[in-house]
């Protein structure tokens, strides 16, 4: 049945190049490799359409014929074919396409290796969308083998954890006959080569449109097979392979204009010929060069200059360029690639087992494998609402206050407490939750309780699951407490019969009674009814300032004689350990967006209490003194009625820059460069977290004199540029001080921060909250 003497491998690829490189190499290594035919009706210019009937095989003829007659690409594998795969193959190597991977993983029980070569989209996101997660993270004997770290650096962390090895891939053997061919020629045509195949395909159509916008010049020749030829004389279309390589060698140079996570092979083939290659900023090719930038196109002026040098045969420039290419060329050199490929694939295909499942998912519980049946006491945290934690640039981030506070709490419990945490999440959010709590999950201190809720959290199936959750928590003998982190998102918490802690950082409708905070005043009333009922049920209510504690009784959340159940724990700096340095692409994105302008910064959602109408008026006024000033916001103008109209009235729209879903590192980057944090809010439930960030990252602060600030700072408040609420002249004058005298402003802030820092540490926070969950505070633990 399966390969008796040597493993029998099924290679799901059919790629023109790979068939002659990697597939052939596996056979050289002694594996029997089955190469299925590409008989799909879906056109793919890279696919080898020749049927490989003469391939070496020990499969019984009848089974071989059945496999050769089946279309394995973009299809579901039927039961009878699945039986053949499981009976006759030791392993399957799936290349490139996530849909192909799904079709195999759905039916094949043996070893699967997913071999990838770079893609222009997030492969991990695609895997989530097609429903392969969480089964893929629980799969044993499975590995992903990318060709370069740079090609997957924006993939999700769970994806990277499945990457066993990185194995480069080689350019085709026929190119090596042309090694140095460009350099050996004395004359080159007045032509720059580039490649855009199949421009009927939407991806390549976009690449073609992008190219035409950047480079209307007639000196280009656009290579690659086409299904149709538009009226562009620069499009050459498919050529015989030798003709193509010769024309490449005869051209003045090559331009690579793709700016995504793919690196196609023609520029590397040009490098093998010792020909000069220019490349777009932001391309994967550019990432391979690191700091070396001689061939990088910075902008259109730079492009004109460097293209002219190529066309004129500028020896100095071309010499530098080709010399800088050498490390990149070597990545694809068969002399370098083949030993690595042989070592890794011999090991992956030859060993008993290549991986254990890293996670176990026994619905609804997802935990690190082997640690799912934790007998320790559990804190359940209700987080089953989408959007609390999301992936951004491949990393998982929390943008709202609630998950960031939960993050600090989970960290503190893991560090100092003896309580484990069960995070309740939705299936859609679970990849991000998995990555967000990765370290704690790996340590077995956190597990995920996954609810497969619909888009509408109140449809019948979703509600059944939400009620089942309550039953499970009530029945779990290890349940120590339940943290309800939002006052109305989880009304089912009212059915809990365990200790409940409600996190209630603020209740603004009480302080701004004339404003609707939800879709209507009726909805506000219903929300409040839920919050009041949960607060009444809760054993403790957690908040972050005496100011908030002071009005919760008046607002009806606690009775006047039970305010002691409200615990005040000042927040530490949230997300600090997640503020990693930005990668080059993100830095470029932010720099390009700012275009060198000075800017004010206020990262917050647009809510009535944030007073954006006033902020925009202040900004318009400040621009009179600082005409280059921009304002960077992270919310939306339309969230609160009247704000968009204010932007139009003061004609500041074109000077507003909206950066949504910023990762922690990006937020830090912006603080470090902003002219000032401009905090116009008139109501905050706690010491504004933006001020903690500005203190830490060195941004001048201009803020409303809020009770939650003066409560924490006392006399030190006079060191800061605090303004009376909504007082334009006060804000304008202090903004001028922050901008014109940045150094002394920051020096005064540093004195305040030195005094404040100890109050707002994670340890101090945990010391206050630990007793609420029945765990010992750090000092006692020590």
């Amino acid at each position: 049945m399966k390969g008796a003497d040597r493993p029998r491998v099924f290679w799901l690829g059919a790629h023109k190049v790979l068939k002659h490189t990697e597939l052939a190499h596996l056979r050289e290594l002694g594996f029997e490799v089955f190469n299925p035919p590409y008989i799909s009706p879906i056109y793919d210019q890279s696919m080898d359409l020749r049927l490989d009937f003469d391939q070496p095989t020990t499969l019984p003829p009848a089974e071989f014929a059945r496999l050769m007659a089946h279309d394995f690409f973009y299809t579901v594998v039927p039961e009878d074919i699945a039986e053949l795969l499981n009976a006759y193959f030791d392993a399957i190597v799936v290349t490139i396409n996530a849909n192909w991977l799904k079709s195999i993983l759905d039916v094949f029980h043996g070893r699967v290796i997913y071999r990838i070569y770079g893609q222009h989209f997030s492969l991990s996101q695609k895997i989530v969308e097609i429903g392969l997660w969480p089964s893929i993270i629980c799969r044993e004997d499975f590995a992903i083998v990318p060709f370069a770290l740079e090609s997957v650096e924006r993939e999700h962390r769970w994806f990277l954890d499945l990457c066993a090895d990185f194995v480069p891939y080689q350019i085709p053997d026929d190119v090596f006959e042309y090694t140095g061919a460009w350099a050996h020629r004395a004359d080159h045509k007045v032509e720059i080569a580039t490649s855009i195949p199949n421009i009927l395909n939407p991806y390549f159509a976009a690449a073609y449109a992008d190219f035409c916008a950047d480079y209307p010049h007639r000196i280009f020749s656009i290579y690659g097979p086409q299904r149709a030829h538009p009226a562009d004389p620069r499009i050459v279309g498919a050529l015989h392979r030798r003709t193509f390589l010769e024309r490449l060698a005869a051209s003045a140079g090559y331009l690579y204009n793709y700016k995504d996570g793919v690196c196609y092979l023609p520029p590397i083939e040009m490098m093998q010929m010792a020909g000069p290659v220019l490349y777009a900023r932001g391309s994967l090719l550019a990432r391979f060069y690191g700091e070396a930038s001689v061939g990088r196109i910075e902008d259109r002026v730079d492009a004109e200059r460097k293209l002219r040098w190529l066309l004129h045969g500028d020896e100095r420039f071309i010499g530098e360029l080709v010399a800088a290419q050498e490390p990149v060329r070597r990545r694809y050199d068969r002399a370098v690639v083949r030993p690595v490929f042989a070592e890794v694939f011999s090991r992956l295909l030859g060993s008993d087992k290549i991986s254990e499942p890293s996670f176990s998912y026994s619905p609804p519980m997802l935990a690190v494998s082997g640690k799912s049946a934790s007998p320790r006491r559990q804190l359940y945290v209700l987080m089953h609402a989408d959007g609390l934690v999301v992936h951004q640039n491949g990393r998982a981030y929390a943008f709202e206050g609630i998950p960031r506070v939960v993050d600090v709490l989970v960290d503190a419990l893991a560090q100092w407490g003896d309580l484990d945490v069960t995070i309740v999440t939705t299936l859609r959010s679970s990849p991000a939750m998995r990555d967000f709590f990765a370290e704690r999950l790996a340590a077995g201190r956190v597990r995920l309780h996954v609810l497969e809720l619909g888009e509408d959290r109140e449809d019948e199936g979703s509600i059944q699951q939400r009620l089942s959750l309550i039953e499970k928590i009530n029945a779990d003998p290890n349940t120590q407490a339940v943290l309800v982190p939002h006052y109305y998102l989880f009304p089912e918490a009212l059915l809990l019969n365990r200790d409940v802690v409600l996190y209630l950082p603020d209740y603004f409708p009480h302080l701004m009674p004339d404003v609707a905070f939800d879709v209507s005043r009726d909805k506000d009333r219903e929300n409040k009814a839920v919050g009041v009922a949960i607060a009444s049920k809760a054993r403790r209510v957690l908040t972050n300032s005496e100011f908030t504690r002071g009005y919760l009784a008046d607002a009806g959340f606690v009775a006047a004689n039970e305010t002691e159940k409200v615990v005040v724990a000042p927040l530490p700096l949230l997300g600090a350990r997640r503020a990693e340095p930005l990668d080059e692409a993100e830095q470029r994105r932010l720099s390009d967006a700012l275009a060198g302008r000075r800017f004010l910064f206020y990262p917050t959602a647009n809510r009535p209490n944030k007073q954006w109408v006033f902020l925009l008026r202040l900004f318009a006024n400040a621009r009179l003194a600082y005409p280059d000033l921009a304002l960077v916001l992270t919310g939306s103008l339309t969230s609160v009625p009247g704000v968009a109209e204010a932007a139009a009235r003061w004609e500041v729209g074109e000077h507003l820059l909206f950066l949504h879903h910023l990762e922690e590192g990006s937020v830090r980057w912006l603080y470090e460069r902003c002219a000032a944090l401009c905090l116009t809010s008139t109501l905050e439930g706690n010491f504004p977290p933006q001020m903690l960030e500005a203190f830490t990252y060195g941004a001048p602060i201009v803020a409303t004199r809020l009770p939650t600030i003066t409560e924490a700072l006392g006399d030190l408040a006079s060191e800061l540029l605090l303004c009376e609420p909504l007082q334009l002249e006060d804000f304008r004058a202090k903004l001028a001080i922050a901008i014109d005298d940045r150094r002394s402003t920051l020096a005064r802030q540093a004195r305040v921060w030195a005094a404040l820092r100890a109050r707002n540490t994670p340890e101090a926070f945990f010391r206050r909250v630990a007793p609420m969950f029945g765990v010992r505070a750090p000092a006692e633990a020590a």
Binding site: P491, L494, L495, G556
Partner: protein, 167 residues
Amino acid sequence: MDGDRHRNEGRWDEAAAAYAAGLKAKPNAFPYWVQYGHALKESGRFEAAEAAYLRAIALRGDEPDVRLQLGHLYKSTGRGDRALLCYAEAVEAGSTDRFALEEVRNARVRVSEPTPLRAFDAATLAILRRLVAASGKAKAGVHSSRAPSFARLILDSVGPATTEPRP
């Protein structure tokens, strides 16, 4: 058969006896159990009627009408929460009975004393589940007024929420 004739003439004791005789011959005859339940109910033997209906439900769980009848039985004997559960199950099984739909849609379950500190048991959760399911059907059914939100259903099931400061 005799049972139907006695039933049509309003002679419920005789009808019950005739259906009981029929069930001896055909113990799994679903229509007999339903009619037997009706006859017992009309003759005032409520516990026996409940047992007959439950036997019928055990034979044909997908039949909404018998659940509806059991709901009426509970309703008329003062067991409102069980009635509501049956109405909800009837709607869930496809009943379009206006009375049942109305009962479900307007359901304000008072399953126990209205204190938010009460521990909820599995039966309460089961009732809530069926209410939610039925409320979805009612929303899409003949009644045009808006079904209560999940939050409202829970608030109602735990008692009135206090929005005023407590003394």
